[in-house]
């Protein structure tokens, strides 16, 4: 395919795949640009082909939908309407008078750059997991819940033999059942939310019977694998010297404080922990798209406020794979119509719009139930690291806020280096904001990936041996810091 694609879709998860197929079906040429070696994103992450899995669906839900997406993608690639650019890490999307140029780094090493030109863009970059700190959270063996799931689905490996799955949110259910099905002993599922809160929201939740059935399915699997569920509990500490060997859990009171006398130790070599998800917004932010809190703001057609830029899936707010599919479909339809000079007709995506409305309502209700314990920060000790990259302890942030009077995340960052490391504040951002007493804002990064200087300078990097160390990242600094 030599013709320039009209539409670049960034991200090949449920949202990006649905957008690609909807646009291609309307006759638009699409470049599907994704950092992974295989399509699927997080939800449909596939085992590497070299592993020869004959029954990958054993680790999946919604396999029929995945097959439909995968076959559709295959057909559109064969027909020459879709180019699937795998192993392309997009670090910047440039908007100019002739359209858009997508800048990507190639392969896992991410040293060489390529560009893709397009007339319009769909941002379907998904999200990443949020984890609030607690003593011991930097020990090897403590992983994000989604990370454990990603290595299981993609690499067919377990992090250890005995796992505790903890935190809050719907993601903990597939992770606990997935680990158990794959042979791990799941010693406990520790959820800080109150089941009574679920009952209080039952009207809103019951509006989607499919989702209730899904929940019941998980409950049955937890029972089958005999996974003890500790609701209204939290992990207060992870123990170990060179690696995790146990966690201490405790019950929470109605205010979200640890109840005295309820602490107990559970031996485990793995803690899969998560406190919800955060959208990837860096590409949207550098394009100048308006954000709503921590998510990309979109209209009914999934358009951002920057002409020619659509967004779909978890980049626009957390709501799971089905919502990502509906939003992606609408984005693809809308973009295809506008690229071919037609006024989009919302009647052509009425079904997807209905799902979208129902799922957004459902997840808003879930979101009000699944929240980290209100007083989680009381468990932090002075020497708990808040910023994993720069090894900034909690007391440094507390000193910056208390004695030095820092009133915002940026000042705390300048005083403590929290958020200045490799991950550019993606991991510590929520906790630093909370300790500073500020609302959470998206991590502000000039580029979505660390970019070798040679690529930035627009030439083939011949002497560069990977991104420079974090002491000297080309883009590690917030542009607002200078």
């Amino acid at each position: 395919m030599t013709d320039r694609p009209r539409l670049a879709v960034i991200g090949a998860g449920p949202a990006g795949l649905a957008a690609t197929l909807a646009a291609a079906a309307a006759g638009v040429r699409v470049a599907l640009v994704d950092s992974a070696p295989e399509a699927g994103g997080q939800f449909y992450r596939q085992p590497a082909p070299g592993l020869g899995a004959r029954r990958p669906q054993a680790l999946h839900h919604g396999w029929r939908t995945w097959r439909r997406l995968r076959e559709g993608l295959g057909r559109q690639i064969t027909a020459g309407r879709v180019t699937h650019l795998t192993d392309h890490h997009v670090w910047y999307v440039e908007r100019h008078s002739a359209g858009f140029t997508v800048h990507a780094l190639l392969g896992p090493l991410q040293e060489d750059g390529v560009t893709v030109d397009a007339d319009a863009v769909v941002l379907a970059t998904g999200g990443y997991e949020k984890v609030l700190p607690f003593p011991g959270w930097t020990l090897p063996g403590v992983v994000t819940a989604g990370g454990a799931q990603a290595l299981l689905k993609g690499g067919l490996v377990l992090p250890g033999r005995t796992a505790v799955v903890a935190g809050t949110g719907p993601l903990l259910l597939p992770v606990a059942t997935g680990l158990a099905a794959a042979g791990a002993h799941v010693a406990a599922l520790v959820e800080s939310a109150d089941p009574k809160a679920l009952v209080r929201r039952s009207r809103a939740l019951a509006s989607l019977p499919v989702k209730l059935a899904e929940g019941a399915g998980y409950a049955a699997r937890l029972l089958r694998h005999r996974v003890p569920v500790l609701a209204r509990h939290t992990v207060v500490e992870a123990h170990g010297d060179e690696r995790l060997d146990a966690v201490t859990v405790a019950a929470l009171d109605a205010e979200g404080r640890v109840r005295p006398g309820t602490r107990r130790r559970i031996a485990c070599d793995t803690l899969a922990v998560g406190h919800g998800m955060l959208p990837h917004t860096d590409l949207a932010a550098t394009l100048g798209c308006r954000l709503d809190g921590v998510a990309v703001r979109v209209d009914d057609e999934q358009r951002t406020d920057v002409p020619g830029v659509w967004a779909a899936g978890e980049a626009t707010g957390i709501g799971g794979a089905d919502l990502a599919l509906a939003e992606g479909h609408i984005a693809g339809r809308s973009a295809a119509a506008r690229l071919t000079g037609r006024q989009p007709d919302p009647r052509t995506w009425a079904g997807a719009a209905r799902s979208r409305a129902a799922l957004r309502g459902f997840f808003a209700a879930l979101d009000s139930v699944y929240a980290p314990p209100a007083h989680w920060a009381e468990q932090l000790t002075d020497d708990t690291l808040i910023c994993r990259c720069e090894e900034v302890p909690v007391h440094a942030v507390r000193t910056a806020v208390g004695e030095l009077g820092a009133g915002d995340v940026r000042t705390v960052k300048l005083l403590t280096r929290a958020g200045m490391g490799w991950c550019q504040g993606r991991m510590c951002g929520p906790a630093v904001a909370a300790l500073t007493g500020c609302p959470q804002t998206p991590a502000r990064t000039p580029f979505a990936r660390p970019v070798p200087l040679g690529v930035l300078a627009g030439q083939a990097p011949d002497t560069q041996t990977g991104p420079p160390p974090p002491d000297n990242p080309p883009d590690g600094k917030d542009p607002h810091d200078d």
Binding site: P47, L51, A58, L139, V143, G183
Partner: protein, 105 residues
């Protein structure tokens, strides 16, 4: 409260991997399967940390599992700062624990 008896992810998914091959971690031989990332191969070998932090020299390994946190940095065939959760393992790879920045400074 056992996990499935004798179950493992390869068995669950009825996997027939291509031939296993050898790589080294700090000179020690480890068996890896084709398609696995460096992190997956190390986990399969029972290794969960392969980096010492720049400040306190504390051990780290996988945290986010998807390339976002940079905790899993490793030295691969002489190149420091590779994300073990993203890079596929290849026959003969020399994986080294990364201390600090991974550069001799």
């Amino acid at each position: 409260m056992r996990g499935e008896r004798n179950m493992n992810p390869l068995k669950l998914t009825d996997a027939r991997p291509g031939p296993a091959f050898t790589v080294t971690l700090d000179g020690r031989e480890i068996t890896a399967l084709p398609g696995q990332t460096v992190a997956a191969a190390l986990w399969a070998a029972g290794v969960t940390s392969w980096r010492g932090t720049r400040g306190a020299g504390r051990p780290r390994g996988v945290f986010c599992g998807i390339g976002v946190c940079f905790d899993c940095l490793v030295s691969l065939n002489g190149r420091p700062n590779q994300r073990a959760c993203l890079v596929p393992v290849r026959p003969g790879d020399a994986i080294r624990t990364q201390e600090g920045t991974g550069h001799d400074d």
